[in-house]
Assembly symmetry: C2
Homo-oligomer: 146 residues x 2
DNA sequence: AGTGAAACCTAGAACCG
DNA sequence: CGGTTCTAGGTTTCACT
């Protein structure tokens, strides 16, 4: 993981479909050399994959909610992970400091869909209480600054 | 935005570097037809771009924090947007219901870097108070379910 | 809207400094 | 590590349906 790797990662974070030649020209390497580095970065897990960035609203997913989870007793993080991984509407989940045990980022189509999703989350035995913060507007969303 | 478009978007969310031929074979279209649809989806803003998904920890960004912003008086969301857009460590920002006015997702290298970033955020005149929730572990992180 | 063909460019492997 | 070369395959435009 040297300086060139960082430049490659940075460039590919913003131009995920750029050709190796294009990436290489930005970091001063030939296309094959760039590809070898990208393959290694993928192998090492630095680059986890490639994705199209989709505007959720334009495909009908209009409601974002942050749900704080208050758990019964001491719950191992992996237990929470496996539980929320089964709910596709949970697009991110974290264990956090503070009064709550976990914070879920939930993305749903509408409030009816939110109700169903919250119901499903609350059915997990370890969930004692939930508190929802509805997102009014998404101001910024981007990747790690690198 | 028909059924095939949804399939294309769904496939590209998980295989951002797949060839048009490969995408087309999954949705029953030729490569040129697939490319035209993807170009249109980009034009229409449904697909905002393509990105490499980077594991932040492997490049030294080890600390995630959620920062609640309590604003002085009534602040228009755009004012908050322009303010936080200038801080690269803010990887996401939302206006939310509840007691806080905005919720920021901050990603930094370490706690020292966090201190600097919080200082910078607090310097905005409209920020009356902040409350930080430090992420202990990232359990799940993925895109819109589509 | 769609397909198929042609020109051009890229990917991926082999080989060499 | 890096570059160069080569072949297979992808991208993109065009004519046509």
């Amino acid at each position: 993981m040297d300086d060139i790797d960082e430049q490659i990662v940075s460039y590919l974070s913003n131009h995920g479909r750029a050709s190796f030649r294009e990436v290489g020209s930005h970091v001063g390497l030939s296309a094959p050399a760039t590809k070898r580095r990208v393959d290694r970065l993928l192998d090492d897990g630095v680059i986890e994959g490639f994705a199209a960035l989709v505007d959720p609203a334009s495909i009908g997913w209009n409601t974002d909610v942050f749900v704080s989870i208050f758990a019964r007793g001491n719950i191992p993080p992996d237990r929470i992970r496996t539980a929320v991984a089964k709910v596709p509407e949970v697009i991110a989940a974290y264990t956090v400091t503070g009064d709550a045990d976990a914070l879920l980022h939930v993305r749903v189509r509408d409030t009816r869909h939110l109700e169903q999703t919250l119901e499903r989350i609350r059915q997990e035995e370890f969930v004692a209480q939930t508190r929802s913060l509805v997102v009014l507007s998404r101001l910024v969303e981007r990747g790690t600054p690198v």
